[in-house]
Every structure is written in structure tokens, then in C-alpha cells.
């Protein structure tokens, strides 16, 4: 069998995203990364949340699960635990992952299952037509913040570092090469990887535009001596650059959750024979007598 190409991960569905939406590039980067790491479409389970970005699971030729708002990660973790042979990628928006789903995001990072989580961060709620997001900058004017946001923006990468994530990366959707490479590294990382992708919403965010990002982003590869295994350096670098850096910010070698669970089978649970050994069952019954 010939190895897959990114075309194998295409389906014939035309995304309903606005022309110019940053999510198109994320879609394409996932397709390329999946092919590059040698997956076939059926090896991949893509679990997404609700939002414009959440529609992505329907736009890639792979097993796709479009869940509920904010719950992509719990569903994805359930899939991974059931079948550890699958490559599980979760994806969604900044509202999905950092507002309604922030609890799950933090706990998934602590838990460190071998899953890749891609956030399409446009700092606004796209699907519901332009309300503020926990990622919106101070003063950001939206239909729900007519006088400008008065809440602090949540810093996802710093939060990830503090929550014990073992792979923390940020990227920019037009930088398709860097983005693809980052997603590949995330998939290959054994453990939880979070990749926050600046994915501009051309319709509802007129502040954080493509040009704005081009002007303000710094590539970590341009910072001399940057060591992404050094958590302290990662944190100070983020703070020095107002979190606006791209690249792999931090990576740590720590056993994934699946490898630490006592008794958890090497063989995917989904492929096991469910019938209980009668002798084992008898011993369980005996414990109550």
C-alpha cells in the first residue's frame, strides 16, 4: 500500500467558513501533518467542539466526532482510553477551550493522555456572531461588550505551563509550514500536546487581523539560545513578549497517562473479549459471602 498523502485526508465537503477565515489553513495543516506522520485516514479520530472552528471534524477525511460546546477534550479522552491505537486529535475554538471548556482543558493537561489539542484562537465568538471571548483583549468592543471588554484576557500558554502540559506550542494559521510541523510534533509527542493557533476571524475581529499578527508575533526560532525544555525560560519569554510568540514553547518527557494506569491493557480495550472469566467471577461473588 502506498503511503497516504494529504489528499487522502480531504473529503468533498465545502466548509461553510467565511472566505479568508483562518480555519482553512488549520484544516490543511492537519491534513498535511497526518499524512506526514504516516497515518491513514481511519487511524485518525478527530473530535471537535462547537463553534465555527468546531465544524472542522466534518471537513477532514477521518473518523470525526462533533460533540458539544466545550467538551471535545472529555470525549477525545474517552476515545483514546477505549482505543489507544487511534491517533486522537481534539480541536475547537477559544470559547470552546478557554471559556465553557476551560476546566476540561486544564484537567486534560494535568492528566497528560496522548492526545493533540488544537485551538483555533480568533479571540472572539465566531459562530454566535461576534461576542467577546476570554481571549479578547482588554477594551475589545463586541456586541456583548459595547463599551469594550473590561476583563483580562486569559493567557493559554502560561496556563498550560502552569497546568503541567508536556507539549505547549503556539502557531499562526498563515504560516502553514510551521503550523504543519508543529502539529506533526504534537502528534508525535507522547502525552498531551496543546497547540494554540492564531486563526483570524475576518468577520468579527477587526483588531487581531492577519496584518496585526504579522507585526506583533515573534518566532521562537529567532530568539537566540531559546531552550524549550526550560520551563522557567518558557514562562519569562512568554511574559516578555506579551505571549505573542510562535513555535514549540515547551516540551517535556513524561510518561503519558495511559502508561501510568495500573493494569491498563496494552491491547486496545475496544478489541477485547468482554466475557468475564467464570473463575474470576466466582471469586468476586465469594468476596460477598
Amino acid at each position: 500500500m502506498s503511503p497516504s498523502t494529504f489528499k487522502d485526508f480531504r473529503n468533498n465537503v465545502k466548509p461553510n467558513w467565511c472566505p479568508g477565515c483562518g480555519d482553512f489553513s488549520v484544516q490543511s495543516a492537519i491534513q498535511r501533518a497526518a499524512a506526514n506522520v504516516g497515518l491513514t485516514p481511519e487511524d485518525l479520530a478527530l473530535v471537535s467542539g462547537i463553534g465555527c472552528s468546531g465544524r472542522i471534524s466534518g471537513y477532514i477525511n477521518s473518523y470525526g466526532f462533533h460533540g458539544t460546546h466545550g467538551r471535545a477534550l472529555p470525549i477525545a479522552q474517552g476515545v483514546k482510553m477505549a482505543n489507544r491505537d487511534l491517533t486522537v486529535v481534539a480541536a475547537g475554538g477559544d470559547g470552546d477551550g478557554f471559556a465553557i471548556g476551560i476546566g476540561h482543558t486544564i484537567h486534560a493537561m494535568r492528566r497528560n493522555m496522548d492526545i493533540t489539542y488544537i485551538v483555533m484562537d480568533n479571540q472572539v465568538y465566531g459562530l454566535t456572531k461576534g461576542q467577546t471571548s476570554p481571549r479578547s483583549d482588554d477594551g475589545f468592543v463586541t456586541s456583548s461588550t459595547p463599551d469594550g471588554s473590561i476583563e483580562q484576557a486569559l493567557p493559554p500558554m502560561e496556563t498550560a505551563l502552569m497546568s503541567g502540559a508536556t507539549f505547549v506550542a503556539q502557531s499562526f494559521s498563515t504560516e502553514i509550514k510551521e503550523l504543519t510541523a508543529t502539529i506533526e510534533a504534537g502528534i508525535q509527542h507522547k502525552g498531551f500536546s496543546i497547540i494554540n493557533v492564531f486563526s483570524p476571524c475576518v468577520t468579527y475581529n477587526k483588531v487581531n487581523t492577519y496584518d496585526w499578527f504579522k507585526e506583533n508575533l515573534t518566532k521562537l526560532s529567532d530568539i537566540e539560545g531559546y531552550d524549550n525544555t526550560n520551563r522557567t525560560q518558557a514562562m519569562t519569554t512568554l511574559m516578555e513578549h506579551n505571549s505573542l510568540v510562535t513555535g514549540i514553547i515547551y516540551q517535556e518527557d513524561r510518561p503519558a497517562y495511559e502508561d501510568m494506569v495500573k493494569g491498563y491493557d496494552e491491547k486496545p480495550l475496544a478489541h477485547q473479549d468482554l466475557a468475564l472469566d467464570p473463575d474470576y467471577f466466582e471469586s468476586l461473588v465469594g468476596e460477598f459471602m
Partner: protein, 587 residues
């Protein structure tokens, strides 16, 4: 000679009440008695009055009784709170240390036994529970030797010396009490049991074991009373079969994770109580819409809100049936004993797999936490049916077409493939979707898919084993008693009392709550002059469901109890009498 005695131990929570009750009960179980134990406890971990009441009988018992024969008291509060349950001939055995006083209007005899002092003589004050059990044996006119094996199991690891000391403390308690009783009539001596080996367990253990027997490998859950025992049991056992429990950050995560696992092909359950179920509702809807098998256990407790977290109630019924927004196919099952809980739990996974929908396994605090005698479970009675899961899928000519995961079929159930299967790629979404799982709002498709989902359950009721457990000795009855979950035993006992007076009573216990077994219940409603629906809630939720499905509103009455305690047979007897005499009930 008695065929049944009711025993209670009371004291401050966290002071060994549990171990006293446990050792006594396990011993009686091993002798072949049938037991039903109910613990009264406060949410506080330490301090606060707690008691454990155990019915010990030569026959099967399934209810808590209001009566009491023997009260073992570790403090005065235990006497003050419980003495009124004791009748003439009852015995209070109290630790002499706190100088127990028998209330003026107490009908029982008080025996002050120096529990603590005797315990200290033979080892440490901690052994006072052994002294109390020894004293109990003296009242029951039975030997303490039956407890040797249990003491051995508990203390064997700490050496023979410990075992010996505990047995001596028990013996000493026995002799002290025997002398104290003198030559009193042997009114509380207990008839011998049949010596059969039976299990002694709480309903939650039975549910957990049923899940294990059904092939469950994953349980994501968030702790809550009275559901936690299920996850605590499975975290001990699932590693034996390669699986695990994950304590999630909340119930939304627990339910969503269970959905993810089930989607990927593993039998996975979660369990909670009312507050957790409220949080799970959106996810349960997702399982309904995506046709993902899912089993959720709801161990009902006192609501609303945080309510009465450690008390009995049956008030989640409406939420379990209607809680989710939109219309989904859903099954709600309600076992009534630990025995049924085991087999129903196992079967719930077959139903979830076969009908590809969420199944709520409804329990209540009384069923979940009452420790009861159960005939040993039979694994050969448990079969595993996965429904329409395809192991292989043929290649399609149209490369762009997805596998039709939501194919419109006659029975509404579509073939399912697990992620990872070649040629099986499809999309799953909570949005309305076409046969391939792609989102669409087309009106005809919406109709087709909604009807397909809803007709999956068309034949469920007729296929469901025993949806209404009926005990109907009379073709025409004066009274039909109806209940669900743990009220079964109390209704049965009340019915027997009514029969003694020549009242023709039938009993129907609803085991399948949704879809409602209308055809199965209706003949008994038709044949009854009056119907009394017995339930632990304030609004008559089951009665309303019956009125909605069966009709005959005029003869359906409610007997409600929502003070946190389980129904006692005596109360149901009284309620029935009131209804029959006044054609209405005001309890």
C-alpha cells in the same frame, strides 16, 4: 422462638458503629439468615448520631422496619433517639460507662454492660464492639463461635494474639449479658437458619458487579453520595481485566468521556446522583442524537439542589425521562432489589448497544446503600449482545461517500462501525445530520432521521424482560399497590397484612419506567377498585406518569413520603386502609 429479630447499633459517627454492624451482619449471613440492613447517617464524617439497623430473618426480607427488638447503644443519645421503636420485651444493651438511663416511658429492658471496661481488660477500648456483639449473642441465645472466622479474616494479619483477644472480649460480653439476663424467658431466641451460602451486599455493589459481568472496561466518574461505592468498587476490580476508573473533573466530563469510550467501542458507564445527572443532561442528549450507547446510573437521593444528600428519595424520575432538551430515544430502568440490580445492570449494556441510545439505570439511596442478602449471582444468566456492530466494511465505489452510519432502516437501528475500521469512515455530530453523519437542515431528512431515531424503541417494551413485576393473586382487587425501586419489600409486607384482613390487594412494581409499559400495567389497573402509588417524593411523579399513560385518573391515588426516611411496611398498610375506608388519602 422468633423467626425474625430486628437489631440496631447506635452511637457517634466514626466510632466503630459501622464495624459492629458489619461483623454482626456478616456472621448472621454466614449462618444462613436473610438480612436487610439500613444505615442512618449524617453527612458529617465524624460526630453526629449514626445507627445501623439490621433485620435478621429466616425468610427473605426486602424492607426496613419501624420496629426494633435489640438496641445496642454506645451513648445516651442512641437510646433517646431510638428507644421508641422498641416494644414490650425489647432489650437495650448499653455501655455502662456512660451510665445509661432508660427513659420513663420505655417499654424495653435496659442492661448496662461495661463494654469499654471489658474491652480494656482483654486488650483495648476499641474492642468494645466485640463485647457488644457477644452481648447480642447472649440475647439471641446463640454461640459466639460463628464470629471466629470473621475475626480471623479481619485480624489474622495482626497475629493470632489479636484474634484471641477479640474472641475473648466477645466471650466476656456474652457471659456478662447472660448473667444479666438471668433466667428470663427466652423470648428473643432466634430460630436456626438454613445454613445456605448467600451474598451480603449493598445495591451499589450489585450494580458494579453487573457492569463488570457485562464487560465494562471504563468508568469515568465524579464522586457523590450515594453513588461513589460503584466507582470505588470498580477501581479495585477493573485493573484485573485491563480497564480503569478515571475520576474526572466533573460529571459533564464523566458523561462525555463515557460517550467517547462507547463511541470507540468500549462498554463504559458513569454513575452519579441527582446533582450530577443535572449536569450530564446535555451530554445524554448528545448520546441520543449521535446514537451512541451509554449507561448512566442515577442513585437518587433527597433533592432538590443539594437537598438531603444522605437520605432516601425517588424524585429524579421526571428528570430522567424528560431532562434532556429535544426528543431523543432513551430507556429508564428501575431495579428494586440488589438481585435485580445485578442482572438489570448487566442487561442495560445490551440494551444500550442494541438500541444505540442512552440507558438510565435508576436506583435510589435505599437500594444503593441497604445491605441485603442475595442468592449468589449466576454468570451464565448474563449474555453479552453488542447489536449491529460491523467488524468489516466493503469498499465503496464512490470514494467521497462516507459509511452510512445513520442509514434509515426499518427498525430504525443502523449498522455501526468503530473508529479504526477500514472503509468505515463517517461523521458523528450532535447537529441534525444525513445518513453519512454530515450536518444538514433539509426538512425531509430531518423528518426521516428523527423518525428513525424515535422508532428504535418501538419494540423495546415487548422485548424487555419483565417490565412490570406483578404479584397479583386476585383477578379483581380492592387495591392495586404500585411502586418502583426500593419500595418493593415494604409494599409486599403491607400487602400481606392487608390480605390477613381479607382485603384483596395486588402489587405491580414498575421495572421499566421509560418507555412506559402501559399494556403490561393496564390490566391490573382495570381490575382494581383503587390504585395506590407509593413513592418517596412530594409530587407523585410515578402516579403522574401512570395517569398520563394508562389514564383512569379518578382511581389513582398517591402515598407520598419525602422526609428522607424509607417507607415502612406499617405506613403503607395504614395508607392503604385510609384509602379504602375514605376513598382518599391525606397522609
Amino acid at each position: 422462638m422468633r423467626e425474625e429479630i430486628i437489631w440496631k447499633v447506635g452511637g457517634q459517627q466514626g466510632e466503630g458503629i459501622e464495624s459492629t454492624g458489619e461483623i454482626f451482619s456478616v456472621g448472621m449471613n454466614r449462618l444462613g439468615y436473610h438480612l436487610y440492613g439500613y444505615r442512618h447517617f449524617s453527612s458529617r464524617i465524624k460526630g453526629g448520631h449514626t445507627n445501623n439497623k439490621v433485620r435478621v430473618s429466616t425468610e427473605k426480607v426486602n424492607a426496613v422496619s419501624e420496629e426494633l427488638d435489640i438496641l445496642v447503644a454506645f451513648d445516651q443519645e442512641s437510646i433517646d433517639v431510638n428507644y421508641h421503636e422498641l416494644s414490650e420485651g425489647g432489650v437495650i444493651i448499653a455501655d455502662a460507662k456512660f451510665k445509661p438511663e432508660n427513659p420513663a416511658d420505655s417499654k424495653a429492658d435496659l442492661h448496662a454492660v461495661p463494654f469499654t471496661e471489658i474491652a480494656k481488660e482483654h486488650g483495648t477500648a476499641l474492642m468494645k464492639n466485640m463485647v457488644a456483639i457477644g452481648a447480642t449473642c447472649a440475647v439471641l441465645r446463640m454461640e459466639v463461635e460463628v464470629f471466629t472466622s470473621i475475626i480471623q479474616e479481619i485480624f489474622g494479619r495482626k497475629g493470632e494474639d489479636m484474634v484471641e483477644k477479640n474472641m475473648q472480649a466477645m466471650q466476656a460480653g456474652f457471659h456478662y449479658m447472660k448473667d444479666s439476663l438471668g433466667n428470663e424467658e427466652e423470648s428473643l431466641s432466634l430460630a436456626a437458619a438454613d445454613g445456605e451460602k448467600r451474598m451480603y451486599m449493598i445495591g451499589n455493589d450489585a450494580i458494579a458487579l453487573g457492569a463488570l459481568a457485562a464487560g465494562v472496561r471504563m468508568m469515568p466518574a465524579y464522586p457523590i453520595t450515594p453513588a461513589s461505592d460503584i466507582m470505588e468498587y470498580l477501581i479495585k476490580k477493573l485493573p484485573d481485566v485491563g480497564g480503569t476508573v478515571i475520576q474526572t473533573e466533573d460529571e459533564i466530563a464523566a458523561c462525555s468521556m463515557a460517550i467517547g469510550s462507547n463511541y470507540a467501542g468500549v462498554r463504559s458507564l458513569t454513575a452519579s446522583a441527582g446533582p450530577g445527572l443535572s449536569l450530564m443532561m446535555e451530554a445524554i442528549g448528545l448520546a441520543g442524537m449521535t446514537e451512541t450507547p451509554l449507561v448512566v446510573v442515577d442513585t437518587q437521593r433527597g433533592g432538590p439542589s443539594t437537598g438531603l444528600p444522605t437520605k432516601q428519595e425517588q424524585s429524579d424520575l421526571m428528570q430522567m425521562i424528560y431532562g434532556t432538551h429535544g426528543d431523543i430515544p432513551k430507556v429508564v430502568m428501575a431495579p428494586s432489589t440488589a438481585d435485580e440490580a445485578f442482572y438489570d445492570a448487566a442487561e442495560s449494556f445490551n440494551i444500550a448497544d442494541e438500541y444505540q441510545c442512552p440507558v438510565i439505570l435508576l436506583s435510589d439511596l435505599q437500594l444503593s446503600l441497604s445491605k441485603q442478602t442475595v442468592e449468589p449471582f449466576d454468570l451464565t444468566q448474563v449474555d453479552i449482545r453488542r447489536g449491529k456492530v460491523l467488524d468489516e466494511v466493503k469498499e465503496r465505489e464512490d470514494k467521497n461517500a462516507y459509511f452510512k452510519r445513520y442509514q434509515v432502516t426499518e427498525d430504525g437501528i443502523s449498522p455501526r462501525v468503530l473508529p479504526g475500521t477500514k472503509n468505515g469512515i463517517h461523521h458523528v455530530t450532535g447537529l441534525e445530520h444525513n445518513e453519512e453523519g454530515r450536518p444538514t437542515e433539509a426538512t425531509q431528512n430531518r423528518k426521516d432521521q428523527m423518525e428513525k431515531r424515535m422508532r428504535k424503541l418501538d419494540r423495546l417494551v415487548e422485548r424487555f424482560p419483565n417490565p412490570v413485576a406483578v404479584n397479583a393473586p386476585h383477578e379483581e382487587s380492592d387495591l392495586l399497590l404500585v411502586g418502583f425501586n426500593a419500595t418493593r419489600g415494604a409494599i409486599e409486607e403491607a400487602m400481606a397484612e392487608l390480605e390477613k384482613e381479607g382485603i384483596k390487594a395486588n402489587h405491580a412494581h414498575i421495572r421499566l419506567i421509560h418507555p412506559f409499559p402501559t399494556e403490561q400495567l393496564k390490566p391490573y389497573v382495570d381490575a382494581a377498585k383503587q390504585v395506590l402509588v407509593v413513592e418517596n417524593n412530594a409530587t407523585g411523579q410515578l402516579a403522574n406518569i401512570i395517569k398520563m399513560n394508562v389514564g383512569q385518573i379518578d382511581k389513582i391515588h398517591s402515598h407520598l413520603k419525602f422526609d428522607g426516611d424509607p417507607f415502612y411496611p406499617e405506613e403503607i398498610y395504614q395508607g392503604s386502609k385510609e384509602l379504602l375506608e375514605h376513598e382518599s388519602i391525606h397522609i
